[in-house]
């Protein structure tokens, strides 16, 4: 039983990180029908930015709430700005172009970010200091978890709930949903579509930045090319949950993390990836729009 609980915690931790990244994909897709392939690289970028902010302002070896709050808020703000810039430079000029052009532009933007990270911070792996968050370990009857894991689960749940409320209960959230349904109609209703898209990129990139920082803190080693792998997993999570659907991305991320952990734990880690994709195919066969995806008539 304790082994099962341990796998549950392992899976939830990585799953909530996938979910945070998946939100970035799904929100952009929901509004612009564009797969933002640069998102994964933005996540990697944020890990490097966070590391630099931490070591430059506080120096290694400092554990304080001030440091944690500063690193997270500065990084999120900076990455949000980069996200907005990305939209302005790489996507807005192509908004009326065929969808394929925008996807190619997204792939190109991803390469630009990845190589910029490599040129700024070098091709070597960089290592996060181990003491940004206290390294306390809790143990309850054979189940072990760390303070970092509690932080990851706690903060990502708070962020996801907050996002859900924001989208469903506020005026801007309503506008976002309106733009997602029909951009032209929304514009006729007096909604500033450009502003909504900017807000989407701010939120998506900031959530990605939080995920990137947690990846750095939890796994310690960060490389300039790590974005692709996490991006791909999160992308799969977004599709599983139903791309364009915000609770879907959260559910998809958690399912992906849990499923991976359970397969690795009870069958074999060699099969984890194969089974994950079997699950994806099965979901897409029985629910082509994903677990929580809504039926959209125009989709073929």
């Amino acid at each position: 039983m304790d082994i099962f609980l341990q796998q549950l915690i392992n899976g939830l931790t990585i799953g909530s990180l996938y979910a945070l990244v998946a939100l970035g994909y799904t929100m952009v897709y929901g509004v612009m029908k564009l797969i933002n392939f640069a998102h994964g690289d933005l996540v990697a970028f944020s890990a490097f930015v966070g590391l630099t902010i931490y070591t430059q302002i506080f120096g290694e070896g400092v554990t304080s709430i001030v440091a944690v709050v500063t690193v997270f808020s500065f990084t999120a703000a900076l990455i949000a700005m980069v996200g907005v810039l990305l939209e302005r430079l790489a996507y807005r000029p192509l908004r009326t172009a065929p969808r394929l052009s925008a996807v190619v532009s997204a792939l190109g933007a991803g390469l630009v970010i990845q190589n910029a990270v490599m040129l700024i911070w070098g091709p070597n792996m960089r290592v996060f200091p181990s003491n940004l968050l206290p390294s306390t370990v809790y143990e309850f009857g054979g189940v072990v978890f760390t303070f970092t894991q509690v932080m990851i689960l706690g903060l990502s749940s708070i962020l996801m709930v907050a996002l859900y409320i924001f989208i469903n209960r506020t005026k801007i959230g309503t506008a976002i949903r309106a733009v997602a349904i029909d951009q032209d109609a929304a514009r006729l209703m007096g909604i500033n579509v450009n502003r909504i898209i900017m807000i989407i990129f701010i939120i998506g990139s900031a959530l990605g930045a939080v995920a990137g920082l947690f990846l750095g803190i939890y796994y310690r080693g960060i490389t300039f090319d790590m974005g692709w792998q996490y991006g791909l997993n999160a992308f799969v999570a977004a599709i599983m949950g139903g791309i364009g659907n915000i609770p879907g991305a959260m559910v998809g991320g958690l399912i992906l993390g849990l499923f991976n952990a359970m397969i690795s734990g009870y069958i074999s880690s060699q099969w984890a990836e194969a089974f994950t994709f079997i699950l994806l195919i099965a979901i897409l066969i029985f629910r082509p729009t994903g677990i929580l995806g809504e039926k959209v008539a125009e989709k073929v």
């Binding site: 792996m125 072990v144 796994y219 310690r220 792998q229 880690s269």
Partner: protein, 374 residues
């Protein structure tokens, strides 16, 4: 207009041909194929730096056979796809020998291209498969996985007397090769292997697999992969409070292992050829001093030095034979005995295998230094 263009094109082509012809006569080109960026970047850079340092030293003394050595580097990122591209590029550049690559997989992908084009290659890759084709162009400057496996199995069973052994590897040809070799050697000694697991390199999260191992109560976890995963495995092992020794194969030996594992690195055990600071030879001390003076850092690990030894042996053969004919150099190297290299005497067998196997077991101490324990 057309006439003008073709005239221009001809002039340019003739000019280029002239330039490359004079160029080729003046220099001896040595290629470096190494993972200069990507996961194994610091190993790849050390190889590149080491080769360039030797080339510089030779050039300062007037080069080789009266010609300057020119180093052409190609980054294979540690992947087979990029390695194949590098192989073509280096062959087109007209190198006579290639130093590298670091990983078995990348080396294997490039091997055949070098063989077909009669370009010598020397690599530290330890996968047994590298010498199975018996290419006369290939020289391994390190040791075979099977030799390391035999040593490791003997150490586990006869020295440490482990009762419950868990083996892990990634999917690379080096890592699976080493893990398979260790498993078969352990079986010969009737050891109790309780689990053989594979992890995906770069996935970073290995807690699921480790939790599974925890339920099996191993007294040792042996990891036959690279340092990036090794450091994380060690950290996550202790985070999950798995009370077992951690033993890493040769590729765990890298400063990044300690950086990644942090305080968890203390107590982990590594099996490898002597690391640079433990090399007793004067050649090694001089090389390390020169390396430090030029680059203001240490080479990442022993692998760069092994590759440099391969290069030194090739240059030595060229000087002895006064030729750039790769076949003659190869014949000479196949019978080379006890050439004083940086990592010890260099001798090659008929199949391009380096003759020597001297392993050590290190334990990482509280101050993150290595101590030889066997």
């Amino acid at each position: 207009m057309k006439g003008l263009f073709s005239k221009f094109a001809t002039t340019a082509a003739v000019g280029m041909a002239l330039v490359s012809a004079t160029y080729a006569a003046d220099v001896v080109k040595i290629g470096v194929q190494a993972p200069i960026t990507g996961q194994y970047a610091n190993e790849g850079q050390s190889i590149d730096y080491g080769v360039k340092l030797i080339a510089e030293q030779y050039n300062a003394k007037g080069g080789i056979l009266g010609k300057k050595i020119e180093v052409v580097s190609c980054d294979d990122e540690g992947t087979a796809q990029k390695a194949a591209i590098c192989a073509r590029r280096l062959v087109n550049e007209g190198v006579i020998a290639v130093i590298g690559s670091y990983t078995t997989g990348a080396t294997e992908a490039a091997q055949t291209t070098y063989f077909r084009n009669k370009v010598l290659q020397t690599s530290d890759g330890t996968g047994d498969s590298l010498t199975k084709h018996k290419y006369w162009t290939f020289f391994r400057n390190s040791f075979q996985n099977s030799a390391q496996a035999e040593f490791t199995a003997d150490y586990f069973v006869n020295v440490k007397k482990y009762q419950r052994i868990a083996i892990m590897s990634d999917y690379s040809s080096y890592s699976t090769g080493l893990a398979d070799a260790v498993v078969s050697e352990l079986k010969k000694l009737n050891a109790n292997i309780i689990a053989v697991e594979k992890i995906k390199a770069g996935a970073q999260n290995y807690t699921a697999t480790l939790t599974k191992l925890k339920s099996l109560n191993p007294d040792v976890i042996y990891y036959a992969g690279y340092y990036n995963e090794g450091g994380l495995l060690r950290a996550q092992q202790l985070q999950l409070k798995i009370d077992a020794d951690y033993v890493g194969g040769d590729s765990n030996d890298n400063p990044d292992f300690i950086k990644l594992a942090g305080d968890s690195a203390v107590g982990s055990i590594l099996v490898n050829f002597p690391t640079p600071e433990f090399l007793p030879y004067d050649t090694a001390k001089k090389f390390l001093a020169d390396y430090r003076a030029k680059y203001n850092q240490e080479p990442a690990s022993i692998w760069a030095l092994m590759n440099v030894d391969g290069m030194l042996a090739i240059l030595h053969a060229m000087e002895e034979l006064k030729t750039e004919d790769t076949k003659k150099i190869s014949d000479f190297l196949h019978t080379l005995v006890d050439f004083p290299g940086i990592t010890g005497p260099v001798s090659f067998r008929e199949d391009g295998e380096r003759v020597n196997t001297k392993f050590n077991v290190y334990q990482i101490q509280d101050d993150k230094t290595y101590k030889i324990i066997y």
